[in-house]
Symmetry: D2
Subunit: 345 residues, 4 copies
C-alpha cells in the first residue's frame, strides 16, 4: 500500500481517491474549494488546508497526483515545485498536451523532481469500472508507482483473455501500461481520444441515417434547383432507434462501450430533445490530427469527425454563406429558406 497526494477533487479526482482508498492506499487530498476536501475526509481521506499542508503531511519520496484542468497545470507546478524535495514525484493525470509533458519533465528534472504523465480514460464510470491508464515517464519511477496504477486500473478480469496472446505478467492486461518516456502516456491518450472522435461520429452518422429512413413519406419540392426524390418507396421505415442500439449490444460487430452509452442515452429520450447539437472538443482530437499531419499519416475519418464538431458549433457559417453567394453569382439562385419545422429531424 502506498501514500498518494491528490490535488484537484472534481468528479474525476474525487472518484479516483475513492477507488484508491478502497484499494487500501492512504490519500492526502487538496482542492481549491474546501467542500470537496471535507467530503473525502468524511470518507477517510486526509484533508489538507493548503499545498504546504499537503506537502507536510506526506512522507518522502512524495507522489502527488494532479487532476486539474490542463490549462492550470503549469501554474500549479509553479506553486508546487518550490515546496517539493529531491526525489519527489508529480503525476499529471489530466488531459495535458504531451509536448507540455516533455517540457515540464525537463524543467522539474533540473530540481531533482520526477514527472509522470498519465492519460486517464474511464469518465464518470471509472470509480466502478476502473480507469484505463496510459503512462509516460522514467521506468523506475513508473515501476515505483505500480501499486497505485494497479488499484486505479480495472484489472484483468474485466475482459476475456485475447486469443493468441502469450505475454505473461504484462500490466496491459490489468488496464495500465508504461507506454514510453515522458509524454508517451498523454501521446497515447491523445490518439485514444482521436479514435474516440471517429467512433462517436460513426455511430452518430449511422443513427442519423436510421432516423431519416422515413423520408420518403414526406413531400418534396421539385423546382429547377431540386430534383425530386428518385425512390421514395425505399424510405418508408419508422425505425425504433433505442431498440436498435440495444439490439446491437449483443453479438454484433459494432458492440462497444460507446454503443452501451448510446443505448442508455436513447433509452432516456429517443429524440435527444435535451441537446442542441453543439458538440464540444477538448483538445485531444485537434492534437491527434496535428500529429497525423506532422507524421504525414492520413486521417480522413478522425479529421472528418473533428470538423463535424467544429461545424456543429457554427464555425462553417462563413464558408457556407460564401458558397450561397457564389451560387447567386453564377446561377442567380436565391438561398432557399429553411423548411418549416420538421418533426423528423
Amino acid at each position: 500500500m502506498m501514500q498518494i497526494g491528490m490535488i484537484g477533487l472534481g468528479r474525476m479526482g474525487s472518484n479516483m481517491v475513492r477507488r484508491l482508498m478502497q484499494g487500501g492506499h492512504e490519500c492526502v487530498v487538496y482542492n481549491r474549494h474546501v467542500a470537496a476536501i471535507q467530503q473525502l475526509q468524511d470518507e477517510g481521506a486526509v484533508g489538507t488546508a493548503s499545498l504546504q499542508d499537503l506537502i507536510a503531511r506526506m512522507t518522502k519520496p512524495r507522489a502527488i497526483w494532479l487532476m486539474v484542468p490542463a490549462a492550470i497545470v503549469d501554474a500549479m507546478l509553479t506553486q508546487l515545485a518550490p515546496l517539493l524535495e529531491e526525489g519527489d514525484i508529480v503525476i499529471d493525470g489530466g488531459n495535458s498536451y504531451y509536448r507540455d509533458d516533455i517540457r515540464r519533465a525537463a524543467e522539474l528534472q533540473q530540481k531533482g523532481l520526477h514527472y509522470v504523465d498519465v492519460g486517464t480514460s474511464g469518465g464518470v464510470a471509472g470509480l466502478e469500472r476502473g480507469y484505463c491508464l496510459m503512462i509516460g515517464g522514467e521506468p523506475d519511477i513508473v515501476k515505483h508507482l505500480n501499486p497505485i496504477f494497479a488499484t486505479l486500473a480495472p484489472g484483468s478480469g474485466t475482459a476475456p483473455r485475447t486469443p493468441g496472446r502469450n505475454k505473461v505478467d504484462a500490466t496491459a492486461e490489468q488496464g495500465y501500461l508504461h507506454c514510453g518516456p515522458h509524454g508517451a502516456g498523454h501521446f497515447v491518450k491523445m490518439v485514444h481520444n482521436g479514435i474516440e472522435y471517429g467512433l462517436m461520429a460513426a455511430y452518430a452518422e449511422g443513427m442519423n441515417i436510421l432516423r431519416h429512413a422515413n423520408i420518403g413519406k414526406h413531400a418534396h419540392d421539385s423546382d429547377a434547383e431540386t430534383s425530386p426524390m428518385d425512390n421514395p418507396e425505399f424510405y418508408q421505415y419508422e425505425l425504433d432507434l433505442p431498440e436498435i442500439a440495444e439490439l446491437w449490444r449483443r453479438g454484433s460487430v459494432v458492440a462497444s462501450w460507446l454503443l452501451d452509452l448510446t443505448a442508455a442515452a436513447l433509452a432516456e429520450d429517443a429524440d435527444l430533445a435535451g441537446f442542441s447539437g453543439r458538440v464540444s472538443d477538448s483538445g485531444e482530437g485537434r492534437w491527434t490530427v496535428l500529429a497525423s499531419i506532422e507524421e504525414g499519416v492520413p486521417t480522413p475519418v478522425i479529421s472528418a469527425a473533428l470538423f463535424e464538431r467544429f461545424a456543429s458549433r457554427g464555425d462553417a457559417d462563413y464558408a457556407n454563406r460564401l458558397q450561397s453567394a457564389m451560387r447567386k453569382q453564377f446561377g442567380g439562385h436565391d438561398e432557399k429558406k429553411s423548411a418549416a419545422v420538421s418533426n423528423q429531424n
Copy 2:
C-alpha cells in the same frame, strides 16, 4: 442557319434564344407563362400559343430544345411525343439524370424520334460568355445540330490554345463536344458539377480560415473541457478578404471563374450578411458521388463538399445531438451554450 424550337423560357431558356437569334437562327418559342413568349417575340422570336402551335410552325425534321426543370421533362415528353413525327429531334438541355436520358432515348426511338442530351454550363452569364455544351446522342443527329451548338458555345477565342495540343477542327475548342451515346452529355455535366462542388468548398474553406485569422485577439475560456489556444500570437491578422480574392485573380495558381465570382460577391459585401448559409444542392453533386461509389472510385473531396452542404441545412443535427448525449454519458459533460453573438463569424 437553322430553325429551332425552344420550350421553357426561364432565365436560361430565354437567354439561349437570344444568343441563337444573334447567331441568325430562327427560334420558335413556347412557355407555360405567356409573358416570356411575348418578350422574346418582341425581340424577334416566333411566339406560339401551344405545343401544337409550336409543332405546326416548325419544318421537318424538327429540332426542339427543352429547357425545363428536370422533374418536368418526362411529363413534357408525354405531351410532346404524340405530336411529333418520325425523324424529329428532342434535345434536353436541362439538368436531367443521365439514366433518364438512356431510358427516354429508348422510348422515343420506338416512335422514330431522336433524343439528344445536352449538359449546359454557363449560368446567367451565358448569354454573353456563351454556354459550354456537353452532348450525348447519335452521331449523325448531333452533327446535324452542330450549327446550333456552335452558336450557343463560347467559341475558340475565349481561351488561349492549349500548348501541346495538336487536334484540328475539334469542337471542344469551340466549347461544345459530342461526348458519347445517350446520357454521355449529362454524365459529363454531372461530373462537372461534382467538381464544381469541390472547387466551391475549397475556396469557401480557405476564405473561412482567412476570416478567422484574428481569432488570437479574442479571449478564450479554459476549463476542464477546453484547452486554451496555444498560440494566440499567430492569429492576429485582420485580413481584407475582398482584396485577397481580387489579388488571386491575377497570376496565382487558384485563378478561376469561380474566384472571379467570389471577388464579385465579396466586393458587394465582405460579410455576406445577406446569406444565411443554407447551401442548396440540385442533384448533380449527389449523382456524382453515387457514380463514384458504383464505380469504386474514391471521392473524398467531392463527397466532403456535398456533405458540408447537407450539414449547412441542419441535416447533421440529430447526429450532433447524439454525440453530445454520448459525451454526457461518459464524461458527465453538459453541452456548452452558444457563445454570445460573435462579430467575427
Copy 3:
C-alpha cells in the same frame, strides 16, 4: 422447438445450423457441395439430396433459411419458389440489398409465400457468441419464427442491462429485433456495416499514428518542395501497439469488440506482415453512403472510411497521377521517387 430448412452451408450457414441444433431445433440442410451436408448430417442434421428433397422432408408451413451469397439469392428463389406451397416462408439471412428484399417479398407474395429478411451479424464467432439478428417482414410471420431467432441470438445475459431502460419482454435485449416491414432488417444491417466501416477506420488511423510516432528519428530531405520536419523531438516514441490495444480493452472509452479483434490480430503479428493492405468492401458500406445521400444526411466519416478502402486497392491511381501531372505543369516539379523501403511503415 421448430423445424427449419437451411440452404447454404458455408462457414456462416453451418455454424448457424449447429447453434440451432444445440437449441433443440430440427435442421433440414442442403448445399451445392455435398461434403458440408455430410458433415452436418454426422452432427445430427437431416441431410438432403436436392431442393426437392429438402422440400419433401419438411412439414408445412415450411421455414427455409437461405445463407447464400447475395448475388445468388434471386437465382435460388427462381428454383425454390415453384416447389413451395402457400404459407411457406423463405428467410434471406445473407447480405442482400434491402431494395431486393422489397421486390422479392412482393413477388413471392403473389404466390402466397412469405419472405423475411434477416441481417445477421456475428461472423465466425457467432456459433459461440450468438448472432445479432435484424429482421424485416410481416409481424405474424416474424413472430412465428421467434423460437428460431431466440436460439440464434446471443441472449440477454451477454451484456449488462442498459441503465434507465424500462422496456420489458423486448427481444432487442435478447439480440434480435423485428425492425419493420420487408427490407427493414437488411436496411438496419446495412447501416450497421456502414458504422463498422467507420469504427474500423478510426482504429486503423489511430494505430497508424502510434506506429509512426518514431518518425522524428528518421532523416528527412529538405529541398524546395519539402519543408523539414518542424519538431522531430516530439516524434521519438517506439510504441508497443499490441500492448496498447490490449490496454484499451479495459476501462477505456474506446473498448469494443473490434478492439478485441485488433488486439488479437496484433498479438499474432504487430507488423501485420501477412496483409498487403487491400481492404475489400462487400456492398453494405456503399449502400449506406448511397442511402445517406438519398436521405440528404451527411456521412463524412463513413464515406471517408469507404473511400480509404477504394484507395487501398489502387482506385485513386489515375487521380493521383493527374495531380502529379498538374504539379509538373505549374511548378515543373518532377515526381519524387518512392523512398527506399522503410522499416517503419
Copy 4:
C-alpha cells in the same frame, strides 16, 4: 526604377530577375552555383562572387530578395545579417512558414533591419504571366518596394474588372497586395496553397470518375464478399478526357488556370503514363490544415485533399493492413489479391 539583390537563382529566382530586368530594374544576383549567375549576367544582371560582394555592389538602403528553399532561409539570414546595415531590407519570397517570418522579423529588427515576407504564386509560367504577390511587413517598407512588386505582378490588364468593385488605385488589381504585418504574406499564400490542394483534388477525382465510366463493360466477380455491379448498363461510356478538359475551358463554371494545365497535361498523354501517382506536398497544405484546427474552422475538403496525397505515397499502408486483419478476425476473410493489370486504371 530600383536596384534589387537576388539570392537564389533557381527556376523561380532566375525568371523573376528576368522579369525585373525587363521592367528596367537593376538586379544584383548571387547563387550557390556559379553557372546560373553567369547566365543572368549574360542577360544583363550584375553577377557577384559572394554574399559580401553582393552587399558591396548595392546602394543603401539595400533590398535583397531571397529565393531559396524554406529550409535554408534561416542559415542564409545567419550569414547575411552581419553583413547588412541599418535600414537594409530582406525579402523572403519563398515558401516559409509564416510563424518563422514573425520570429525572423523580430530578430532582424533588433539589428535595425527590415524583413518582408512575400508569398509568390505563378510557378514556371510567372516570367510571362507575372507573379501574384502576397506581402507581409511594415507599411512604409512595403510601400518603398512597390516598384519591384508592380513589375513582378501581372498587372491589371490580365483579368477583367470585377463587377461592382469600386476601389480605385488598389494594388490587388495589379496582382500584389500588402496583406498585413509580418507573416501575413505567407499566411495568405499558405491558405492559397491549401485551396490549391482542394481544387486539384476536385478535378482529379472528377476526371477519375470519367475515366472509369466504362466500368460496366468489365466482368465483375460475385462471391460472398462482393456484390455484383447493380447497373452495368449505366457505365458503358468511353470518354475522351483530353477533349473534355479542353471543352470545360470555355464557358463552363469550372474553368480555371488549373484546368488549363490539366488540358495541357492530358493533351500530352491522356493515360498520364509518365507519372506514378505519388503526389508530393510541400508544407503549405499541412500548415493550412493546422491553422484551420487551431482556429476551429472546419476544412473537410482541404484536409481530404491533403490526406489523399499522404495516402498516394503509401502512408496509409499500415492502417489498411490493420483493417484487413480485422476483417480476417471477425469474418475469416482472406485479403483479395490484386486484380490482373487493368487497362482502365
